[in-house]
Symmetry: D2
Subunit: 429 residues, 4 copies
């Protein structure tokens, strides 16, 4: 009997009350519930108003896709050894898919950059900590689960396909977020044929292990479509100039608040946020649990009243949606003009440290440089032909070959609207 | 040239930069931007995780549907007098559709019930107030717009169809929220054929005025489908037992906080929220602007640490999603058992005032009792036959006739899970 | 490993190459392949141009929905006895769902009315006949299958739920055609929440048998939505006035051709069609196999050149889409005016037998009159409450109650456009 | 007031009864009605069962997209000269979009190859012929229309954008068939963001003319998505091996029938088909009107009874879906083995002329070789940057650059299943 969640992307997301009891118990932990209050795309809803979806929905959908993929492998009538592997790891893989984003702070990259602690580290910490409910639920199901899940996230688990399904250039996480971000933003490029892609997945025996691959004959174009979908979403949504400018603005707000707090000013902020801004290394798991979008947004509201002019100004701009403007500008050009730009900014009464920022947005749509890394499971996408041979996607596809190992970077100067005319004049644009 | 918003429901929402300049200016006011931070369905995302969409998106979509409806009337090649009316009121009607929800507080019915100030009053106040940016933008476009818009919202405007399009049993507001709520919750009942419904709309001359109607031959079933879609959404989503139980819980939290503040306890809360909870009648428009989901949610987070046991307990339950449970129970049954239930509750250590609540959820799927109200424009849905005669929907349709003037009420007892066994035992269920 | 068909309605329709081998073999029989060339909605594509979908696609989809329903029952963790029943009948039920429309002639109701042989009789005959490939494939899988399948179609099979799933007011056939007809016509009323409806299905033990039911708490509105979807499709599509007028026209063509052939005229027509038109009772299974849309349409093309004026005229009208016009007219009114109308028609040079027809289209959206029929399995839809009690849909639902046992009839006079003015003049319309 | 067609792709296709009267009149001509009976994808429904959609629906949709594109240009507030051009050519362009496929014979490429008369020639002939109803309707609207439309189809019309919108690598025809074929086959690759693509279209002044372009900043990825969608549909659908093998089979049937007829055998076939197969050059417009899917399919049915063994065998295979099998085989390999393969085929009792065919399917996903062709309007896709400069798509896009001027060919050997083992054995596969 399924427990069912209704969902805009998958319609019905069901988990069996008995067989998938672990997933259902994990959903009820405070740490997982916390994800209800963290938007998947941070401030992107300022650009795409529909993008208010949360990491909670995304995580449910990711576990559901993992379930669908494993059921697909089961329907391929695998040999008994593989059948046993699939059966043995099912519970762990569904749980890992559900928990893969557990460590995310609100406004994730922002706060990751700020704290220099990757969200993966937080995920591992929460799973490891004997005090955390998530650990308790996992360990009760199987004492080995916490350690196994950590090895999964650290890419040292066997079978390799399990690692890849969770995290690689072909994982259920990406499949899910492309579908969800695409639907919620209204940007249809993120749409790809998930049913056919899953239908084309194969497990191929390789030196005592099982590799994830896509049936070349059936799935080449679905694979291309999926990689392109991700590339387009980066270009159109994740790296949208206004979304990036807003990110820059919030980063500068946090930087300013951090400096004020470190130098003895008082600012309204709950304890965990205060700690995050001054000494992120000593944040406890309990603190982490209390950091969500509301915590940060409420501070951003309160700081509008700050007597620090910069903090009050930046937060007011944020709430009134007077966002930074951008100008495309390669780093070299910025370097050449940097001194003059800073002078212009200061002259207009804006501290260049907070009001003049060069932002670089970079994306690697597809890379095969992981190919021969040892120790860890790689991230390449393989296709398998009728003879059972594996071929790397970038070598099988002209289209993906054209993107292979390319980095698409966009440098943009960010600044308040008041400076636009003067900056353009200076640059002769 | 259109300014375009991408959107999950309508795909592209476009407004012409010149012709619809007023709409675009209104979108940029702080009051309208505030709607970005107010979820359309309040706490319903605790039940339907996808339901995180905001009043901002809904308002954009509503203005867009108004635009589509008016363009449809234009394409019907109306007589010159009507053509002129349509042209003359276009700008005002789009603006009114955009602003219809401007006055909403966060968690709307909750805070409306609490303050006893309907959101419509707030909307009118914001539009009237010469200090408010919204007023300024409207008055700059046309000095009569603020007053005209208020008459629209108060149902005393002519032509009548303008009032009806904005607010009646057949208005663009309902059309929009049904589509959006349906998509975001994943509950497909809310879907109806909006293209065909719009295609079937007509304006019919009636005693010196123009009445909104649906072409009987073309649109009867689209009209039925639309009314049923709303009915189903009430049954499945808006009145879902867990959503209602969560509402009850938040109402009790606010009630408790209000009592504590009124009796001199201190609680962390920004000034506008404090005023809202103690003296809502003196809230200023500026205060209103600073009340959004974040304000309330941040207070709910902070109060987990309150030294008032009830407040701390209820807010903790909210955040851990240990929501009240419900039992279907007609009011009469509750009245009969009330004393015993309260005793049981108190005996278990819970204050019945906060932990034992009978909730009544009521919906009138379709009513024709407005038919002969005078002075104000009614809310009935009319169909028009080939002879140009108007027929009331409930009389034209067996299906809607079956729902006519019926009230669907659901009384439910709400209480903490800890009491479930004892209550069921007491009631012999 | 699945054999997969891509499909506009279900996206991927998959059957397991081993487990569902019987379905795959049946698909390859000539009788099933013949359905590729029979449109599901006959001449309706003259009104809804997208409605060119075939019985082949519909039958694939029906078998697929049957598979989904049975898998849903399996996931409910049924008691072992039921589990065994489900396992035991799976193959037969999928095959029956696939073959349920096998006996259909082209332009089905038309030719059924004409031959007075229901398509169900043909289906039974094909399954019974030891010479037919379908019989051979079934009997090779299990010698009892042909007989069991016939008992299924004749409603005398046990368990009752198997009969109901195949043919009742809640069967996979209706579910499928509503979805497909809705998509292909572009008439969205036929859409209903099939995922949720399947999710709500239950099997309830009843006097040594298992009854099909819908979980009252979960599925009442999905059940209503499904019944209404069907009602709307009848009103909007199946009984569309132009579709009906076209049906009338084709019926008159076949009647004329039959009379000509019986009275010794020669008409180009392949042998099976000739037999069909003159002596349908002696049609063989081999003849049946050679009757599809092409057979009839090619005759309709050839007869444009007939030296019989009526046949040539009617077929030319059909191909040039100069279809009969209609006027709503109750039977009583027609009876009263009949003589005058016939005179008017004859006077204008048209034989009233072929050019003046009263057409009655009738639909019973929901009926519970089958309730106490004995011997055969009934067609009612039941809901099951938490106590395991069954409640008839019309009694549980106001909306369906309003349609219960009502017959929606529409009488229309059909005639050539040339008569329109005169007929309206005569009737004073 | 719109006349509306419901449609699975566009939902509602509307044309104004006054403004678009010409389109509505053209729809009613016998030549256009004929397209109801010609499937867009010929025999492809034998592989994708949903692909039964007709050229009639496609043509309606194409005219509708043209209307949407022209309305988009109007909404861009163009300069008065362009505004006038748009207004002046609107009617003609809608009509041309509607009629662009008028000349198609059934099973189009097949019969085009067979007759060596391109369908465009037929279209021009029908439009030119003073006897044809299509010509009459056009000329009545404007005596210049027939000539202008022919110049449009022959690419010598000005403004250039009109030609491009009708026929180029970025035309409304392709947009429409990708959407429709994608929906009906269930192959989602054909889906692209048509709303955004239209939203990104621009008209750019160029040497006394107006060029069609896509806004580089807005529409680059939509343009890529559209070109890729077409590429994928070729790979997955139009060049699907079984669809091609079926084409080969039907071509061989027609070749055999033609030879038999030319050498004096009698075969049942209506006069126009007989003429088509023996002397296509003398086919009249009246003959053309009587050639549709039914004409050909009925002949294919009748010829199963032919006393010519080859014709009877091939048509029986077609109807029983015992289609030719394929083996990938480059032309050079085929040449090398040709003699032995033919011997093997003949030895098995099959005439190699009819039972052993090398099929080459070729597609150029994107080419810029038309760039400097003079006289005619080219077919390139241009983007326009903020400075108003045009950039060719293949130069602006890495992804399309990777496909530029590449030809994707697939050579396949086609033969009856009975030969499979022997051929594989011979080739050592």
């Amino acid at each position: 009997m399924d427990k069912v969640f209704r969902d805009p992307v998958h319609n019905l997301i069901g988990f069996d009350k008995e067989r998938d009891a672990l997933v259902l118990e994990l959903i009820d932990t405070p740490q997982f519930q916390r994800l209800r209050n963290i938007r998947q795309l941070g401030v992107t809803s300022l650009v795409y108003p529909g993008a208010t979806h949360t990491r909670f929905s995304h995580a449910l959908g990711t576990a559901f896709l993992m379930k669908r993929v494993l059921e697909h492998f089961h329907e391929l009538n695998p040999p008994p050894t593989l059948q046993q592997i699939l059966e043995e790891h099912r519970e762990l893989l569904l749980a890992a898919a559900l928990l893969h984003d557990l460590g995310h702070l609100p406004f994730s990259h922002l706060l990751e950059e700020f704290t220099r602690i990757p969200h993966e580290d937080w995920t591992v910490r929460i799973i490891s900590d004997p005090q955390s409910p998530v650990h308790a639920v996992l360990a009760r199901a199987n004492p080995n689960y916490p350690k196994q899940m950590i090895r999964l996230f650290q890419r040292t688990f066997q079978p390799a396909f399990a690692v890849k399904l969770l995290s690689s250039q072909l994982d259920v996480d990406r499949m899910e977020y492309l579908l969800r971000d695409s639907l919620c933003t209204g940007v249809t490029y993120g749409y790809f044929d998930v049913n056919w892609l899953i239908h084309s997945l194969r497990l191929v025996e390789q030196r005592d292990d099982w590799e994830l691959a896509i049936d070349l004959r059936k799935g080449l174009h679905a694979a291309e479509g999926y990689v392109l979908a991700r590339y387009y979403m980066y270009q159109q949504v994740y790296h949208h100039k206004t979304a990036r400018a807003t990110d820059v603005m919030v980063r500068k707000i946090l930087q300013r608040a951090s400096e004020l707090l470190r130098t003895g000013h008082d600012l309204p902020a709950p304890a965990p946020l205060r700690k995050l801004l001054t000494a992120p290394r000593i944040l406890s798991i309990e603190d982490h649990l209390h950091l969500d979008d509301t915590t940060v947004l409420a501070a951003l509201q309160a700081w509008r009243e700050s007597d620090d002019h910069i903090l009050a100004d930046l937060t007011s701009r944020f709430w009134q949606r007077r966002l930074f403007k951008t100008l495309d500008m390669p780093l070299e050009e910025f370097t050449a003009w940097s001194a003059q730009l800073r002078e212009l900014t200061a002259h207009a009464g804006f501290d260049p440290e907070y009001y003049l920022i060069l932002d670089r947005a970079s994306d690697d749509p597809y890379t095969d440089r992981y190919l021969w890394t040892s120790g860890e499971v790689g991230e390449n996408i393989f296709l398998v032909n009728n003879a059972g041979e594996l071929i790397e996607l970038a070598h099988a596809s002209d289209v993906i070959g054209a993107l292979r190992n390319k980095t698409f970077s966009q440098d943009r100067l960010c600044f308040p609207e008041e400076l636009r005319v003067a900056i353009k004049h200076l640059l002769g644009r």
